[in-house]
Amino acid sequence: MTRTDSKLYDQLNVRFKLDALVAFLSSKKVPRHSHSIFYYTGGVAMFLFVVQVCSGILLLMYYKGSADSAFESVRYIMSEVPFGWLIRDIHSWSANLMILFVFIHMFAVFFTKAYRFPRELTWFSGILLLFLSLGFGFSGYLLPWNELAFFATKVGTDIVGAVPLIGEPLLEFLRGSEDVTATTLSRFFGIHVAILPGLFVLILSMHLLFVQRQGMSEPPRWKDLPESEKSYTPFFPDFLLRDFALWSAVLAVVAVLAVLSPWELGLKADPFTSAPAGIKPEWYFMFMFQTLKYIPAHVMSIEGEILGILMFGLGGLLWALVPVFDRDGSRKRWSRFVRLVGLIVVLYIIALTILGYTST
């Protein structure tokens, strides 16, 4: 049965002009080269976001976002709700994998120079999606209201509070009070399930729209290649089928992690106890946390923590603005320098993260 033979298709086509969509999909193509595999990373991150939304909605059926019942509701989900443990573990593991793939996707875009003209806005929206993903991770970590989450949030928001000028109001905005309290939990719950998903979907839609309008970026070296030497894969159905295959494999990995390495619930948060030893943030914040530990208390009359935050703020801003500094490939040496800086950043993040988990 072809599409022209289908009465259903005809009926829909009359109403929704499907021919235009099919023509668009048929013409859409993905460059084929030695780094083509990185084109899949964004799709995997998006797939994991969908897993997040689905598992999150299921958790919402039983989760209660208040300090007196949050911990108990998660315990109930894990012990009494049929497959509740699986949903929670899938939600937690897919969250971590999603952030991992967002990072991989970003570095892939960076090293393939896909942020250059005309894709600056795609890069900027991607950076926003990265920050929103980290926001998801940070706000979601507190929701079980256990001891580790409580104190990690306390440390994390303390760092936010140290930001010059906007730190104090930002801290109060996040916590809803001077300290991490029941109000903070309610606030984080609202941010996690309403504000962030809304913003994320909006920016993700823009991000995808940009990609669709501009197509996949081609390697810079293709600029001088004749068309006959370029190779492409049709997006539909070839690339999409491979996308689905990879998503199935990723889902299998999530299932294996969820069953063989489930997330502990620990003890209920008690604001009156002292922080347990060895409080550490989630792995994606570890490199910053570890860096702050190495900065002296005072550096030339500036508080070490504030200096560290300013350095990361400045570094993040420069990273986000890379399409402005590296507009095209006309300056080869500058382009190589930017790539070298990116490589150093990656090595730094990996090294500091490992140090964060291995140092005493």
Binding site: R75, L241, A245, A252, V256, P262
Partner: protein, 422 residues
């Protein structure tokens, strides 16, 4: 003239600034100034130690205990009899010297309204106090336990009377064979205490709630508890054991035989971790009085109690192993663990019920414990069965997801190959 004005101004300001400092020179400084510069360690050492002394922090100087005139620059005059100087106090005088302030409610109120003022009165009822007042200079007086120049509050971890340090403070004398030679008293209390359940809790596990020497013997009024009061002393913490014992038939017999209540079975300084070995078998304390010829029912009851408690303990061990295994496998054991802990609590209650010496009461409690252990066992079995189900489910899911991925990939390759051939 122009140059004179700033000089005069400087001198005036300096004098104004220095004057209050001269006035605030307290009496300690006079003593400390000289003693801290002497090479003689015995004379110099107190000046260093006194820096952390609670009395120094309250601005109470040397003169309060030693007398003398710290304001005098003349060494002979400062430490003359005329100024009340007594030098190093005689050990028999120390309690009286300390009590001058510490038994004065008005004086003490201005420093520490919450501090007791009955230390001297209690001390005089203690063996230490009685011997000290009789002229024995070796027995403990205030400075023996609290030190002389580094006296800290008892809740200061560096204090010699802080809970963790107190057994060592008492042992300084009581574990010294030579020092205690003339007193006809054992010197193994500290060794026994260290390996007792109380000593291990306090000294190894750093459980500050565990009893040190003073919790049973009293501190300032330290005496060995009388035979009739031992159960009251132990009962301060072990209230249910005391109540059960007091209401049991053993209470009367122990009184009649003048046997100390708890100590007869549990010893005094070496109180071992409670085990059912104490009831039956080679280490049975019941068999010390009961024998199979004259009072077999006592031994039978002890045997029954042991079997009953052991059976609960065995069940709890088996269930705990299953729960630990479940926990290692990442299963959510909290709910089953709550039930197990309730059952474990029943084991403690059964051991407490042993002090009624009523087999029926002990087996009643263990039966409740066994029922709870059984519930925890079922829950643990469910968890482990669930784990098998999870693994099987995972295997099936991974197989189908892998198969789906493979088929999709093959299909993509097939389409790709077809397009390449066109």
């Amino acid at each position: 003239m122009k140059i004179l004005f700033p000089i005069i101004l400087y001198l005036v300001v300096s004098l104004l600034l220095l004057a209050p400092c001269a006035l605030c020179q307290d009496e300690v400084s006079g003593c400390v100034n000289c003693h801290s510069e002497l090479d003689d360690g015995d004379i110099e050492a107190p000046t260093e130690l006194f820096k952390n002394d609670i009395h120094n922090q309250a601005a109470l100087g040397c003169v309060g205990c030693h007398g003398g005139d710290p304001t005098s620059d003349d060494e002979d005059l400062a430490m003359s009899e005329a100024t009340g100087f007594i030098g190093v106090p005689d050990p028999t005088d120390i309690p009286k010297i300390c009590s001058k302030c510490h038994s004065d409610p008005v004086f003490m109120k201005s420093f520490d309204p919450g501090l007791a003022i009955d230390q001297y009165a209690k001390y005089m009822t203690s063996i230490h106090g009685i011997r000290n007042s009789a002229g024995d200079t070796k027995v403990a007086q205030c400075a023996s336990c609290h030190r002389a120049h580094d006296i800290r509050k008892a809740n200061d971890p560096k204090s010699s009377t802080y809970a963790f340090n107190l057994p060592g403070t008492c042992a300084a004398c009581h574990a010294n064979n030579v020092y205690m030679a003339g007193y006809d008293i054992a010197t193994d209390q500290h060794t026994d205490y260290e390996r007792s359940v109380h000593g291990i809790a306090l000294l190894e596990k750093r459980d500050i709630g565990a009893p040190a020497c003073n919790d049973c013997h009293g501190n300032h009024g330290a005496v060995p508890p009388e035979v009739g009061s031992i159960d009251k002393v132990c009962g301060l913490c072990h209230a249910n054991n005391m109540t059960n014992f007091d209401q049991s038939t053993h209470n009367e017999y122990f009184d009649a035989l003048e046997m100390p209540a708890c100590e007869t079975c549990h010893s005094n300084h070496y109180v071992d971790s409670p085990s059912t070995d104490i009831l039956d078998g080679e280490t049975s304390v019941c068999a010390q009085c009961h024998n199979s010829d004259e009072s077999p029912e006592g031994l039978e009851a002890a045997d029954g109690m042991r079997k009953s408690i052991d059976s609960l303990n065995t069940s709890l061990t088996v269930v705990k192993e299953k729960l630990d295994e479940s926990d290692r496998k990442g299963l959510f054991v909290t709910n089953a663990l709550f039930t197990w802990q309730e059952a474990r609590q029943k084991e403690f209650a059964a051991k407490t019920a042993v002090h009624t010496f009523d087999l029926g009461k002990v087996t009643g409690v263990t039966a409740e414990g066994l029922e709870l252990a059984s519930q925890a066992d079922v829950a643990a079995d469910d968890l482990l069965a669930g784990y098998v189900f999870r693994r099987a489910g995972l295997a099936v899911s991974v197989f189908f997801l892998g198969l789906l991925a493979l088929l999709l990939w093959l299909k993509a390759r097939q389409i790709d190959a077809r397009q390449q051939s066109l």
